[in-house]
């Protein structure tokens, strides 16, 4: 609607009058509409009210000046100029009021002050209608000029005095405020100064020296004020009508765009088809009208979204995304995922350059105390080696805890904003944020939302700490369990080992029994010695392996041949209950712990054998696949039912009654610790293949 008025007005002026009236029209309209919007937004708010009054009075005055310029006779012009002067006399009142209460209503002019100002204004308004201020109007060929009356100088003094007083008030306030408010004051000061300096010169100062020809155009520089205020509204959320502004801008662009296309069409028609209104012309117009009706809204929305992103930085999406990020952070448990969300929010949503999250250096180890905060990396969820640190006794840390508020360093682009993540009086983390990519400063809203994000992050990070601690404890427990499982599986191992030991024992015993009858048979004795030693060594080796398995000891890092590990683990399993097929190829050596690697195979072999109670074939293959050493253990047993497939690596999950259910989970852990993968392929009734890749 607004736009229709603007366009209709422009069109009307262009058609009926002169181009020079377009700008006055914009001045009137700009002041009028901005004043109205600000007023309607919150008419009880003193800031909005006083600004609206100033803008509306300015609009009225500009309109009167326009009428003055358009007047037919000097007498008529005189009348308009007197009314204009009367209106003008009142402008300082809301103006000074606005400058007093902006940007915060902490200083409200006293009632008696108001009455006094009002009296002065009314005095000047009243004498405006006499000849004391404007004596007469003359018509020159360039336009009307007015002859100042005897009190004109007084009027100028009054007006300028109030203006200076008002500006000084706001400048005073400029020094009293920080951050966003300060920026808003700058916009307002600049806007009003630039908007008022010109009419003050043309309509007050120059006439004082006898030159009043420019009086007619004086008001129109208030467009600048309107522009500045609008900019301040959109950028710094002044009086909160940025939606309307952005919508208006979008409407203007959309209509201009569609209008230009239409004008182009008309021009084409005009030049190439006909200069009169033909049926074709009407058809085109009607079709275009329909088209506009269909797409205008969409184009407007598109432009508004784009311009919002440009001018408001996608403000609304942005707020939504920020609060969503706060919510998402709350859902996460692992440090890595929390850091990821936070960093992503800083980078993509708030668009901050060089954001850093500082955490205590021993964040994951709750028992260790940290002396400093260091930057944590999102990828590894561990301290980055950036060298950047904030010592725990740093003044900044103390300040953050004491004030519980973010700290702004407006002149430090690398560290413009520091937001504390506080939980009670513990400083869980610190966000150190560089300047926004847009080069804008942080707004109060940014800070507010970042604070919400920070407090959410503090809670979650604190939970994470206990979660990480529990995870570390779990790992220790798992290790202990793995040991007890090893001890438990000794029982199972014993059965297999018994056979292995008893056979050599049989040989040793029988052969030794036969000794007395052959004590002189040297060849026999030598043979006997070899035989017995061989079998004693065999027993010793078996016992050695059993002991190694039962013992807990730090992990060894050595070069291990998978095939060797497989062969020695085979000796610990009662393998002869099933057929064994070995297809071992040469594979690269693996860095790791031989005993642990053997444990994987012992577990897998035991499972395979237990999966084949009726006998079957156990196939062990090793080969190289894409440079990785691969071991495959395949049984022809019952297979794993698909419904339990997911659980087979869980601790304590067992499909057997006698099992502890740790075999595969331990195997999994060991493989993981060796940087390997394990894959399972199983078909019920046909068998299972475990493929381990290192």
């Amino acid at each position: 609607m607004l736009l229709t008025i603007v366009l209709a007005g422009t069109a009307f002026i262009l058609l009926t009058q002169d181009v020079k009236y377009v700008f006055p029209f914009y001045a009137i309209f700009g002041n009028l509409s901005l004043g109205m919007f600000v007023l309607l937004k919150d008419w009880k708010n003193k800031i909005n009210l006083s600004y609206a009054a100033t803008a509306l009075l300015t609009a009225l005055w500009a309109m009167l000046i326009l009428f003055y310029g358009l007047a037919n006779t000097p007498a008529e012009a005189l009348l308009w100029s007197k009314i204009a002067a009367g209106v003008y006399a009142y402008i300082p009142i809301p103006f000074i009021y606005f400058f007093s209460v902006f940007p915060k209503e902490d200083v409200v002019p006293k009632r008696y002050q108001m009455i006094a100002w009002f009296c002065v204004a009314t005095f000047f308004a009243l004498i405006s209608f006499t000849d004391l201020i404007i004596k007469d109007i003359l018509r020159l060929k360039e336009g009307f000029v007015f002859i100042p009356g005897p009190a004109f100088a007084l009027f100028v003094v009054y007006f300028l005095g109030f203006l200076v007083f008002a500006f000084s008030r706001l400048i005073e306030r400029y020094y009293a405020y920080r951050g966003l408010n300060r920026r808003q004051i700058v916009y307002v000061l600049l806007g009003f100064f630039l908007g008022f300096i010109f009419p003050v010169i043309t309509n007050l100062v120059l006439p004082l020296f006898g030159y009043s020809l420019l009086a007619g155009v004086g008001p129109f520089s208030t467009v600048i004020t309107v522009g500045f205020i609008s900019y301040a509204i959109t950028k710094s959320r002044l009086m909160d009508i940025s939606v309307i502004i952005s919508r208006t801008v979008a409407e203007v662009i959309a209509v201009l765009f569609l209008g230009l296309i239409y004008l182009g069409l008309v021009w084409l028609h005009w030049t190439y088809i006909s200069t009169s209104i033909t049926f074709t012309f009407i058809a085109i117009t009607v079709l275009y009208g329909i088209l506009v009706g269909q797409i205008h809204q969409r184009i407007r929305l598109f432009i508004q979204t784009t311009s919002d992103k440009l001018f408001l930085h996608g403000k609304y999406d942005y707020y939504k995304e920020l609060s969503e990020a706060s919510m998402k952070v709350g859902e996460k448990l692992s440090l890595a995922s929390i850091l990821q969300i936070l960093y992503r929010t800083f980078h993509d949503v708030v668009e901050i350059s060089n954001p850093r999250i500082f955490l205590p250096e021993n964040f994951s180890r709750a028992e260790a105390t940290s002396k400093r905060y260091v930057v944590f990396d999102e990828e590894t969820a561990s301290a980055k080696q950036s060298g950047e640190e904030i010592r725990i006794d740093d003044q900044l840390v103390k300040q953050l805890i004491l004030t519980r508020a973010p700290v702004l360093f407006p002149h430090d682009p690398k560290r413009e904003l520091v937001v504390p993540c506080l939980l009670e009086d513990r400083l869980i983390a610190i966000f150190v944020l560089g300047r926004k990519l847009s080069e804008d400063h942080y707004t109060d809203d940014d800070i507010q939302l970042l604070m919400v994000l920070a407090s959410q992050a503090a809670i979650t990070l604190d939970h994470t700490r206990s979660y990480e601690k529990i995870r570390a404890e779990l790992e220790v427990a798992e290790r202990q369990l793995s040991r007890s499982q090893r001890l438990a599986s000794l029982g199972t191992l014993t059965a297999g080992v018994t056979h292995e030991i008893r056979n050599p024992l049989t040989v040793i015993r029988s052969e030794t029994d036969r000794l007395p009858s052959r004590e002189r048979d040297l060849a026999y004795l030598k043979n006997h010695r070899d035989l017995v030693l061989r079998h004693v060594d065999r027993i010793a080796a078996i016992i050695q392996r059993m002991l190694r398995m039962a013992k807990e000891k730090p992990r060894q890092e050595e070069e291990v041949d998978l095939n060797e590990a497989i062969i020695s683990s085979l000796q610990l399993v009662a393998i002869s209950a099933v057929n064994l097929k070995k297809d071992l190829e040469l594979v690269p050596l693996i860095k790791g712990d031989k005993i642990e690697l053997e444990e994987i195979f012992v577990n897998l072999f035991q499972n395979a054998i237990q999966a084949m109670p009726e006998g079957g074939t156990l196939t062990i293959r090793t080969y190289i696949d894409e440079g990785r050493a691969v071991a495959e253990v395949t049984d022809t047993g019952n297979g794993i039912p698909p419904q339990i497939m997911e659980k087979i690596f869980d601790p304590f999950f067992s499909s057997r009654h006698e099992g502890v259910g740790l075999g595969l989970s331990i195997a999994y852990r060991i493989i993981r610790e060796h940087g390997g993968d394990i894959r399972v392929k199983s078909e019920e009734g046909k068998g299972t293949t475990f493929k381990i890749l290192f």
Partner: protein, 156 residues
């Protein structure tokens, strides 16, 4: 009278040879060795008397219970199926698998000799078996099975 023939079946060559030597040392028995179930079955076939109608020259088999491919129990079943009940079978065990023990009942084995055994124990088994106590031995083992089985049942 020809010596009784004993066959030692064990997949471990050293074990089989050692047992065979111990038996040979007594000079009272002929001994053959088989290192796998397949070999054992071949020996049994070769030693049939009058196509099996006159029994088998092998009187007693010392059978390792745990061997690859076909284990002792499977072989036992096969022998009983192919060569009847007349051949005595003594199980050599290093691995007291209770379930297997139980299953062996159906094979009517002479006894179980646990590795590592004393030479006398082995020889006594042979002597007893060939001096006509075969029936009693099988019965005794069978009774042991029954009580063992009852023990299991009670446990369950």
């Amino acid at each position: 009278m020809a010596k009784h023939m004993v066959m030692v079946v064990d997949d471990e060559v050293d074990v089989a040879n050692s047992i065979a030597n111990t038996i040979k040392d007594t000079d009272r028995y002929d001994v053959i060795t088989a290192y796998s179930a397949k070999e054992a079955l071949e020996h049994l076939k070769k030693n049939k008397v009058m196509m099996g109608l006159g029994g088998n020259r092998i009187g007693l088999i010392l059978l390792d219970i745990k061997m690859p491919e076909m284990d002792g129990l499977q072989l036992l079943t096969k022998i009983r199926h192919d060569f009847g009940e007349d051949i005595g079978i003594s199980m050599l065990t290093a691995w007291e698998d209770e379930e297997k023990w139980d299953r062996a009942t159906s094979g009517f084995v002479v006894n179980y000799i646990k590795k590592p055994f004393k030479s006398e124990e082995l020889i006594t088994t042979l002597d007893d078996f060939f001096s006509g106590e075969e029936g009693q031995m099988v019965l005794k083992t069978f009774e042991k099975h029954i009580s063992k089985r009852e023990e299991f049942n009670q446990k369950d």
